[in-house]
Assembly symmetry: C2
Homo-oligomer: 220 residues x 2
DNA sequence: CGGGATCCGTTACGATACTG
DNA sequence: CAGTATCGTAACGGATCCCG
């Protein structure tokens, strides 16, 4: 472990940045909040991070106890958040809230996978009272699946297919982003850019209730 | 303006980090949340940032509309947050919450000024219902003054002396930090490391009420 | 193919010195 | 006080290679 650059300041903010302030680190955590991921999953989601940097960041995160390397069988290893690492969820959510108000710059590239959607959605939903909601939905965004479980006020949003979802919601990333950032009216989004396949009657109302509250939260 | 390194990712988190993710940038904002500051104020608070880096960061922050250069008269200029820049308060607060749980590393240096205290205190207090509180306090931490105004549920915490405070609370930074991070019991802190000079009878109860709630929030 | 390690040119950082 | 200018060093980014 190379001795990392550190602020060495007696201040909690500096101590946080010493752990998660390096370039790429928060984006790695962003993807890991969507569930365990392999090295190459992360590399794809981060579009262009150098392999040695990803190695280095993962080593430091593991050293600081924010993530753990797990043997996933079949000779593959995955990285996943520890309890400590999961506590970065609020920081990441506030970053998403802050960043959502800026227009994308001209030459922008879509992430190599949509783990970020699961992270942002999960973090936002956790800020909303959901005791009255209970469902399991599969979101399909540009063909990628996100498993959203809502039960007893707890939220689980992971980058994976759902087992027996109550409904399947299909949409596209750019439209979803535009809506969540206030650039597109929710009713336009739902009418022109989304499809809802209800498996358990009635659950669509609960799902739309949550999405409405999340949208209100994200767009202020 | 040198073209900055950017993630160029279509993701709100990446867009946020493109603006506030560079090294030192969040610490500069941290200090500015305590009120306008001169170049040398910032340089002192950041203990050892190179002058050219500070110049560069301030230029980028101004370019992105997070801060503004203001003429403060007497030939001095100050930097202060814009409305947009003030929206970084939640990010910084969550960083403080996350970082507060780690023990300081061995060779740690105290910041050159205690603007960070005003920022963290203000951000924490804003997360607490304070409609029932109304007072103005001057905190003196290691001889540096912080002006804390609480009124109608709004909080104003600035790095400056108070005009006509209802009370003056005197303490030391290390003890305050230890208490706010759960390392020292609040009653021990108040008995051995703090002094309360009440100017307006009764306001001390309101002040202690707020401090108790803030401490509960910070220590979980 | 997944999970890195190694090498190397480029960029950013950090310390010091200097200027209006 | 408020920055520039310079320069050695460390970090980053892209490519290539290695190993199971």
């Amino acid at each position: 472990m190379a001795k990392a650059r550190s602020y060495k300041l007696l201040c909690p903010i500096a101590r946080a940045l010493d752990r998660i302030g390096d370039r790429w680190t928060l984006l790695i955590l962003r993807d890991l909040h969507a569930g365990p991921a392999r090295f190459s999953d992360l590399q794809r989601g981060l579009t262009g991070i150098a392999a040695n940097l990803l190695t280095e960041r993962l080593a430091k995160l593991a050293d600081d106890g924010l993530i753990e390397k797990q043997d996933a069988g079949h000779g593959t290893t995955v990285y996943e958040l520890t309890d400590l690492g999961r506590q970065t969820g609020n920081v990441i959510f506030e970053l998403a809230m802050f960043g959502g108000q800026f227009k994308p710059e001209v030459p922008t590239v879509k992430p190599g996978n949509l783990r970020t959607v699961a992270t942002t959605l999960g973090a936002a939903a956790r800020r909303i009272p959901t005791d009255d909601l209970s469902f399991r939905a599969e979101l399909r965004v540009d063909g990628e699946a996100i498993d959203l479980q809502v039960e007893n006020g707890t939220i689980n949003a992971r980058y994976s297919a759902s087992a027996n979802p109550d409904l399947i919601f299909t949409t596209g990333y750019e439209a979803l982003l535009a809506m969540s950032e206030g650039e597109m009216e929710p009713n336009v989004f739902l009418r022109d850019h989304a499809d809802l396949d209800v498996k358990t009657p009635g659950k669509d109302a609960e799902f739309l209730m949550l999405m409405t509250r999340v949208t209100d939260l994200l767009t202020g």
